[in-house]
Symmetry: C2
Subunit: 415 residues, 2 copies
Amino acid sequence: MNTANTPIDPTKLAKLARALIHVGLELKPGQELLIGAPLEAAPMVRLITAEAYKAGASNVQTFYTDEASAVARYQHGTEAAFDYAPSWLFEGMAAAYKNGAARLSLVGENPFMLAGQNPAHIARVSKARSVAAKPAMQYISDFSIPWCVAAYPTQAWANLVFPKDTPEAALHKLSEAIFTISRTTGEDPVADWRTHSANLATRREWLNSQNFHALHFKGPGTDLTVGLADGHKWNGGASVTKLGGTCNANMPTEEVYTTPHAFRVNGTATSTKPLSYNGTLIEGIRVRFEDGLIVEASAEKGEEVFKNLLATDPGASRIGEVALVPHSSPISQSGLVFYETLFDENAACHIALGQCYTECFHDRDLTEEQALAKGGNTSLVHVDWMIGSNLIDIDGLDANGNRTPIFRSGEWATS
Amino acid sequence: MNTANTPIDPTKLAKLARALIHVGLELKPGQELLIGAPLEAAPMVRLITAEAYKAGASNVQTFYTDEASAVARYQHGTEAAFDYAPSWLFEGMAAAYKNGAARLSLVGENPFMLAGQNPAHIARVSKARSVAAKPAMQYISDFSIPWCVAAYPTQAWANLVFPKDTPEAALHKLSEAIFTISRTTGEDPVADWRTHSANLATRREWLNSQNFHALHFKGPGTDLTVGLADGHKWNGGASVTKLGGTCNANMPTEEVYTTPHAFRVNGTATSTKPLSYNGTLIEGIRVRFEDGLIVEASAEKGEEVFKNLLATDPGASRIGEVALVPHSSPISQSGLVFYETLFDENAACHIALGQCYTECFHDRDLTEEQALAKGGNTSLVHVDWMIGSNLIDIDGLDANGNRTPIFRSGEWATS
């Protein structure tokens, strides 16, 4: 019960903050913490900051983002504003990560904030930022450090997810959905998360024991064979970082995922949920792959933004992740569309355009070139979109084409 | 008139934002802007960001600070949290400044936010931060780049300045005081600032033409001879940056100021206004100098914090700035105590413990060692405190001890 009579239950918010520090990041004494968050998330940042210092953090540095200031670049900016990104800042962050700092990102900004801005400008800004961020992102994509992405319920986001409710009711409903789906409403969220991770580990280890050559997805508008990278490894649940501890990179997370082979993907795929990318909603994506490359692409909404995304660099037209999520996941069962990848990707099986995770190889110390030789894609972007539903069947294929059922009607084929 | 019926007049706020970009910084097309601001100042940061992009900024990066998160370090932090500062961040900023970025800082946080925290912890955190910030501060203290410090009226600050008013009335009064004192309420604040700068330039040039050897301050509790550095130069009003443009480093500013000789200051000085330092209020400061060094120091309130400040490093017990402000300045006439140096220092003549400004030498390209040889102090800190009032007389002394009146009863002796 929310005795404070505010839309967002402060007790549940405090539980989530505590879970992020102790399960999301397993923050260690003396470790620094970098936080990225929308301005509206300040109440949660304060709780997280207090938990971090209690856990012995050397410093908590928060980088706040603000919708109005982000939009101002497009509304008022000149040409100079579209191809520049602050490399000095990302290089600074990379130095912090090199020194062992942890990273926490809170999502929740208005998913549509850039709707109506010039897609060409959005693409230029996004690309400049991706290039500048690469030295810092490297520490995240290879799990050099503990990192975690979680959510804070902002009003703009709540209004979008619950358009028929009053603003206050919408905010309350979104916050409750986040708390439930993030599995932080029980007596002991840390213990609950360990159980959840163990369940994901069981699925992951079964897939690793099968060592499939490829997956075959079959559903409405989708008939897709996804080759898996040589030496690929399935992950899911808690990740072991190169510092030795574990982290839960996404809270919530419901997926097991691995690295596909960037040159062995063939067939067609149709999106089953909207993709919110760079402040624009992309719906009804339909693509055709030939030998890993997307050779045909369309979208019912946001097609120009989607095509700009594919054109970011050569790797943006190939995939770097494939992930399995049962239709019975709490997010899918909520029946909600969150317009936010952290949630929507955990509602359904998905693939990601762009950069692979090198942790999804049995040999974790592969260079980018070595990973590429095994089929691990490389790109400035990593963008998940959903191809799963209650109608999807998935088979595992061995090198000879023998089939093993993995999913039937959106659920694991074996209990 | 404030037609929006909010405590802070949005029209006046927009005028101030515009003045900061065009007079405070004279931001150039293609230039990057770094902003530091309290969270509460977001409405003003948005206006400034829009103005910056209109002026052709390549990027606006805001670093928000938050009182609750800053205090959390002291409330919950372990030993690890008191001697660490994020060098990687300041080195990043230094790289941005090296590349020509401008800097805007908005003050306004609760001046007392650290009251009640352990002074030894405050001193350790402050020192670690000063050491880490030095590479970035260098670009500011030598005017390599345009920079400006201005104010945003926060509720906590307003409550302190107007303790007898309702919160809404206090916020309104503080905001109006800021707008008036910052000279941005007229039809054309840019033109008004140019006139004001010209007046300060007249005073500055007269002082430079006199080339005094020392100043003698005489008032209640103060009998102080301040030797001036060899080759010192008086500044005031707009400053010329090494990039070639001009900036108004403080808005408001009412002072003309120069570099004293760190080893030729003798006598006693008593503070005439409270000093807010590191979230603590220091009142009734009384010090005695011998050959530039503070050999006796006391304060009626906040003495421990003041003595910790003096102990930061050897240069913290010597002075690096002396500034002249007539008692008739708008800030002094407001009769308010702001508990914020940006305002209070512009209400009265003051001296600053610590680092000198190398721009206050005729030869601006002096190294720190060369400046020191001429009497320019070096330190991790630069902290102004007030010794002026309507009772202060100031004489200029030449090398033979001949006197020229500069101030009588707190006003310029010549009109």
